[in-house]
Assembly symmetry: C2
Homo-oligomer: 203 residues x 2
DNA sequence: ATGCAAAAATGCAATCCGTGCGATTTTCCG
DNA sequence: CGGAAAATCGCACGGATTGCATTTTTGCAT
């Protein structure tokens, strides 16, 4: 847990500086309109250095998702004996919502990422791709947690219908201009719908 | 319906040449590894001309989807009086499958696109983004077709769960290396599952 | 404190996508 | 045949990435 020293500390410091500078610039002047050179300059490093921290422009925007994904997977892995597939996925969804609609507070930059992604096509694609690969991992974890109730395809199908309902509702609610709590409610309804659908099919 | 003359004819001809050349090169040497310059050269036009036909490299890969999307939307618009939401979406899915898993035959280049997309991250993102925007349009059409049973959010949620289940099943089946007919079967099962889930919730 | 080796930050060149613009060539039509 | 409109081209940028060689920093053992 303990960091080595100045070396490590400085690295996470630079990383954070890049994220904050990037997110701020993206929000203020737009994603496409902001060049990596600007982000690097604002963070006080050379443009080339940016790529030592992130694989690309998109990566900076989703810098906090890996942790959230691990959390979601852990929820599945820690399935209780009495839990059903729907129970577990519902809990995953709740866990996800807890730090999603209307928030972000990534590094002090509360909100903004949702709007940013929703208003930037290329980021939408990136976000959906991450969601897609995450769904696959989630399906794998689910299959491991319920080996008697599922198979590869049904696991992926269940996760897909869940995520699909979730995203569909969230997207529509946001597009409609709902308040954060309304979005939460909409998503909650979608999750319950998906859970009901699953119970009607798989154990 | 009738084309003007040589002008129009040549245009669609060049367009087709670009698509065929592109798809062939993408399949043979990979998407990322193929430059637009190569595609243009193979089609006998200047690189700059490529952008007169497609907005970008990705567009070429999905050149046939617009038509398919229109078809899907039409299926929703032509809802029968007795149809339920699940009925309509099931029909949309069938319509979609009819020309999807294992095929493509876009322009004689049977198969290959599915594999191409599944093996190219950036194309996956593009494909998912197209799916996402299509879902929105589908939700809109569905809302128009069932104004008494749905609202914006529930329509999007229903479409999302449907598409999610569809994609999840298709992806898992393909990833597992299933034969085209097996993929079809898996998707069929997913569609029935999603339909059941919808019937359990919305009318 | 000093010097060396590993790690990080840079600089630079090169490739490729995508776009604006002006110059050319084709095709259409009177 | 003589434009006018449409389609191609060529050219020059701006910006994302990447590979490679060079220069700074930092960690650590004398």
């Amino acid at each position: 847990m303990a960091e080595q020293g100045w070396r490590e500390r400085k690295k996470t410091l630079t990383r954070r500086a890049l994220i904050e500078a990037g997110l701020r610039l993206f929000r203020d002047q737009g994603y496409q309109e902001t060049s990596i050179a600007q982000v690097a300059a604002a963070a006080g490093v050379a443009p080339r250095t940016f790529f030592g921290y992130f694989a690309g422009k998109e990566d900076l925007v989703f810098a906090d998702t890996p942790a959230r994904i691990e959390t979601a997977l852990r929820v599945v892995d820690e399935r209780g004996p009495e839990d059903t597939v729907a129970d577990v996925l519902t809990r995953v969804a709740e866990e996800t919502i807890a730090g999603n609609p209307g928030d972000v507070d990534l590094l002090g930059l509360a909100s903004g990422r949702m709007d940013l992604v929703m208003s930037t096509p290329s980021l939408q694609g990136a976000a959906l791709h991450r969601l897609w690969t995450t769904e696959q991992r989630l399906a794998g974890a689910l299959l491991r947690a319920f080996p008697d109730d599922l198979d590869e395809v049904s696991a992926a199908m269940v996760v897909g219908s869940f995520a699909g309902a979730f995203m569909g509702a969230a997207g529509a609610s946001l597009r409609r201009g709902d308040r954060p709590d309304e979005v939460r409610a909409a998503v909650g309804r979608a999750v319950r719908h998906a859970a009901r659908g699953i119970r009607a099919g798989v154990g």
